[in-house]
């Protein structure tokens, strides 16, 4: 990278004000510390070395399926590892036998991936307690559905013959039982109590209990609603609406019961038997319970489906545990001291909290992503590129070449895997190891051409070119380029070192750890899922595969509200028209007067107005008193003079303040009604007593 580019990057970093104190990197050959005080160094805390072979042994001590299944299916790519594996490896005893069967798996989920197809580490699984809870919930729902079906089936098989009317013997009812009678809601207990009461000779209570059992059954089935204000007739009508065929039988039961309750009919054994016979018959009917039962069933199935649809991505999980997978690699790194984490956020948001970034073949990096990575590397981050078909930016100074596809390459593809060797000048960077991986890719350094171009453009010629880190035969397997500002970039020919089976081969595990170690503990792995940020909620739901679950949840909510009959919102009256009649305004004003208890005030005002109009219309403006007006109005309307006079007098303003008694709320309310009546009378007199027309109402 040229100085100019780095200067620009550093200026941007400084402008964001993200500078933090520089920390030294690991001294075992890591990226050099930045000499510049301006960049914000990536935190690359050192951590102690551990015994890698021992850790590998611990990792394979787990229940690794490909190590303990002699018939474990291997893909052709995986079979290439077989020749490299140690014989009689105690860590993975059955893998050799699986290898002897050859490639038996072409397509087993993601395991049959193409060589160039990108893969990534899985999203961490839901914790075991949560999964256990979900399965327990599912089991409970299934049990509930089975129970509901069984209960319904048993209810339909309830005997309705004479045997059902066997009267049990029981002790006479005591007062406590009488109290309990008021609140008993269980159908079977009510029936048993009815039989017990009948056995004790208390047929009134027996009939009541038998009938109560029927009502409770109907209530439970959602056919009727038992409330204190609802009569038997209400229940019969409800039954008639929901199960018309049962109405006559229900009516017969009610008739029998009401004869005892209200008709003075004797509660005899025969009547009780009749009631019980009808009740047990009705209890055995399906009633209209299908609706609530269907709702419950739908709720149960919906919940079960919801739980079952929680996507665990089993194919992905299986691939991760395969020979080509990476779960054991991640386990090893964790045991060693790394904190590997799959990166989901876009690379454009890469920040200093990440010390190293491992770019897998499946990762998709756009222009912004590379720009962000450049900034991050400039601040001390360590980038690892594990093969793939990425078009690497020139500032890395290297690229990956596929030997099989690139016939024009200067390096001939090797027919058999060669061991990986560390060049002598990298003895401080990597230990001398015996490592080997299959594959037909190599790394090519492109720095020279790139650098020449950059020199022409920016006049910058101070960067060190990439240096070989690992050779596979004569071909380059890994190169590293360090930048003077502290960061570094390592390019590997492929990602084979990061597969589970690689840990069993030679010192591959040690080599991997030592390669990654300079980058620091906070390792993020960028794969297929990195940067898959949805641009809208619909895409987000689609990518998260939650659409079925959300649809089911919506259906459940809808069913629940339909079942409960609840409103989806607060019930409101229909919106009134924007234009209101004059009468509505008048009523509104009247309402305000009424609420303020100002009826008297309104009457007085209207009284003065009405008296003036009367005098004017009756031509009594010569100082005539109330009596003259009243006489004229009475003559015209045919109403008694006293009545008219009373209305006129009562509508006149009062000259004395209201007394304490009149301030009493009850008196005020009574007076308000009286004032309203007077007001109406006065309006009638004014209209009909002075203008003629039909007779006025009182």
């Amino acid at each position: 990278m040229t100085r100019a580019v780095f200067a620009l990057v550093l200026a941007l970093a400084a402008a964001r004000g993200t500078a933090v104190a520089a920390t030294a990197t690991d001294g075992a050959g890591g990226a050099p510390a930045s000499a510049s005080p301006t960049p914000t160094p990536v935190q690359t805390d050192s951590f102690p070395r551990k015994n890698v072979p021992a850790l590998v042994k611990e990792v394979f001590a787990r229940d690794v399926s490909f190590c303990h299944d002699p018939k474990y299916p291997l893909t052709p790519d995986e079979v290439k590892w077989c020749a490299l594996l140690p014989k009689n490896d105690a860590r993975c005893p059955e893998l050799a036998r699986a290898c002897s069967r050859g490639a038996t798996a072409e397509l087993v989920g993601q395991r049959a991936r193409r060589a160039d197809q990108g893969t990534s580490l899985s999203v961490p699984m839901a914790p075991l307690p949560i999964r256990a809870l979900l399965w327990i919930m599912l089991a409970l729902v299934v049990a509930f559905v089975v129970y509901a079906i069984g209960k319904q089936a048993l209810a339909q098989r309830a005997p309705d013959n004479e045997e059902a009317i066997e009267i049990a013997t029981a002790a006479p009812e005591d007062p406590a039982a009488a109290i309990a009678r008021q609140i008993e809601t269980d159908v079977q207990r009510l029936l048993e109590r009815a039989r017990a009461a009948a056995a004790a000779g208390n047929y009134v209570a027996a009939v009541d209990d038998a009938y109560a059992a029927l009502l409770r059954k109907l209530e439970g089935a959602g056919v009727i609603t038992v409330e204190s204000h609802r009569t038997n007739g209400d229940h019969v009508r409800d039954v008639g609406r929901q199960a018309p065929a049962l109405r006559p039988r229900m009516q017969a039961v009610v008739h029998n019961v009401e004869e005892v309750q209200f008709g003075g009919g004797a509660a005899t054994e025969s009547r009780f038997r009749s009631v019980l016979f009808d009740v047990t018959g009705l209890l055995g009917e399906k009633l209209a319970a299908w609706l609530p039962f269907a709702v419950k069933l739908a709720l149960g199935l919906g919940l079960a489906g919801l739980v079952a649809s929680c996507h665990f991505d089993r194919d992905r999980e299986r691939w991760e545990r395969s020979t080509s997978g990476r779960n054991l690699v991640v386990d090893l790194l964790q045991r060693y001291g790394f904190t590997p984490r799959e990166r989901l956020a876009p690379l454009s948001k890469l920040d200093q909290t990440v010390s190293s970034l491992l770019l897998l073949p499946g990762a998709s990096v756009d222009e912004d992503g590379w720009q962000s990575i450049a900034t991050w590397v400039a601040e001390g981050g360590t980038l690892f590129v594990a093969g793939g078909n990425h078009t690497l930016p020139t500032w890395i100074g290297a690229t990956v070449v596929n030997d099989a596809a690139a016939a024009a390459t200067s390096v001939s593809p090797s027919t058999s895997p060669s061991p990986l060797t560390v060049p002598s000048d990298q003895a401080n960077r990597l230990p001398k190891v015996s490592a080997i991986v299959p594959g037909d890719r190599h790394v090519q350094i492109t720095h020279a051409a790139s650098n020449a171009q950059q020199v022409n453009e920016a006049g910058d010629e101070g960067d060190e070119p990439p240096v070989p880190l690992l050779f596979r035969g004569k071909a380059l397997y890994a190169v590293e380029r360090s930048y003077e500002d502290g960061g570094s970039a390592v390019v590997l020919a492929d990602d084979h070192l990061l597969s589970n089976v690689s840990l069993l081969v030679g010192d591959n595990a040690l080599l991997l750890v030592e390669l990654l170690r300079p980058g620091g503990q906070k390792l993020e792995i960028a794969g297929e899922l990195t940067g898959l940020v949805a641009k809208n909620p619909i895409t987000s739901v689609q990518r998260s595969r939650l659409a079925p679950a959300l649809l089911q949840l919506s259906l459940l909510i809808l069913l629940f509200f339909v079942f409960k009959g609840a409103h989806f919102g607060r019930p409101v009256d229909p919106t009134a028209g924007t234009r209101r009649a004059f009468a509505e305004h008048a009523r509104a004003i009247g309402l305000q007067y009424g609420r303020k208890r100002a009826g008297r005030h309104a009457l007085e005002i209207y009284g003065s107005y009405a008296l003036e109009r009367m005098r004017e219309r009756l031509n009594l403006s010569g100082g005539k008193g109330l009596l003259a007006v009243a006489e004229e109005v009475a003559t015209r309307t045919g109403r008694p003079l006293g009545d008219v006079m009373r209305v006129l007098v009562e509508s006149r303003p009062s000259n004395h303040p209201p007394s304490d008694l009149e301030r009493d709320a009850a008196i005020q309310e009574a007076n308000a009604a009286k004032d309203l009546a007077t007001l109406r009378d006065l309006a009638t007199l004014l209209q009909h007593g002075t203008l003629g027309g039909s007779q006025p109402p009182r």
Binding site: Y211, S228, E258, L591, G638, A673, S694, R698
Partner: protein, 322 residues
């Protein structure tokens, strides 16, 4: 006369009335119940809903002598009750009986007459007698008044005084017919039905006045449990403390409700009253006996709303609800 006989008679009366009056089943039912309970009925509704037709048909089917008074603003009390008229030949006063001396009196548009004329019916409706110039003359049995009135919002009407309203057993709202019923009415008229010529319809007389009196007497024997009495008292009592009511129903409302419930039980083929009987008749028996608070009236609360609210609050006897 047993319950089944009574019910059979009522069913026949209903069927016969149904030949002339299409729809309005509730009004017909309540009117018959009121007749059995020796009560008077106030029918309220817009003009043209068949109120007068119902009463005239009822008179024919019940076999009762019926008369009609068209109430007008200038109608005088003596026009209703009759009065003493000087006979010049005898040189003495003769009593000229007014139209009230009948068995079924149709007081048509009763709210068009002034209160003093309306009040002339007070004694007749309550005591079933008429007192004129100190002489009390009994009215024939059976005697019942069916009054009609237009809604009080109409022009030129006099609202009935509370005392007058209280004399009516039921106040029934006659509503507009459904579309289907209206179509049936049109078809009936198309077929030649003439409301002013009921003779030509051949309506059959189902009862005689004597039988009707016997039925009214039999109604009184219908059993009413104490719990039902308590239920009635509770309902009526709550009208006196309801927040939207200026004044509540009088004990006469309780009596009316009781009598109506007994008749309702007979109509259902029972010789005992159940809470359903009371509940079914409570609005008709109470709505005209209560007064609304001014604010409630302004806010559009009706007496029926108050009664419905009370019925939702009062506990039905023998219910299993906790």
């Amino acid at each position: 006369m047993n319950v089944s006989d009574l019910k059979g008679k009522l069913d026949r009366i209903r069927a016969e009335i149904g030949r002339a009056v299409i729809g309005q089943e509730d009004v017909v039912e309540h009117t018959l119940i009121a007749v059995l309970a020796r009560g008077h009925v106030l029918l309220e509704g817009a003009p043209g809903l068949g109120k007068t037709l119902l009463v005239r048909t009822l008179g024919r089917v019940l076999g009762c002598e019926s008369k009609r008074i068209q109430f007008t603003p200038d109608l005088m009390p003596s026009d209703v009750t009759g009065g003493n008229v000087f006979n010049q030949q005898r040189g003495a006063f003769d009593f000229l009986r007014g139209p009230v001396f009948t068995q079924l009196l149709l007081a048509d548009e009763i709210n068009r007459a002034p209160a003093k004329t309306q009040s002339s019916l007070l004694e007749a409706m309550q005591e079933r007698s008429v007192t004129i110039d100190g002489t009390t003359r009994p009215l024939p049995e059976p005697f019942f008044v069916i009054a009609t009135q237009n809604p009080i919002e109409s022009q030129g009407t006099y609202p009935l005084p509370e005392a007058q309203l209280d004399r009516f057993l039921f106040k029934l709202d006659v509503r507009h017919p459904t579309t289907a019923n209206e179509k049936a009415i049109l078809a009936s008229h198309l077929a030649g039905f003439d409301a002013s010529a009921l003779d030509r319809m051949g309506l059959q007389r189902v009862t005689t006045p004597e039988e009707l009196v016997a039925m009214q007497t039999a109604i009184r024997g219908v059993r009413v449990d104490d719990s039902v009495l308590e239920y009635i008292a509770d309902i009526v009592g709550r009208t006196r403390s309801h927040r939207s009511l200026y004044f509540g129903a009088s004990p006469r409302a309780s009596i009316a409700l009781l009598a109506g419930a007994q008749a309702h039980a007979i109509a259902a083929g029972r010789n005992y009253v159940i809470p359903d009987d009371v509940k079914a008749l409570a609005p008709a028996a109470i709505r005209h006996r209560v007064g609304l608070q001014p604010d409630a009236e302004i806010e559009g609360v009706s007496a029926d709303d108050c009664v419905a609210e009370i019925l939702r609050e009062v506990r039905v006897p023998e219910t299993i609800a906790a």
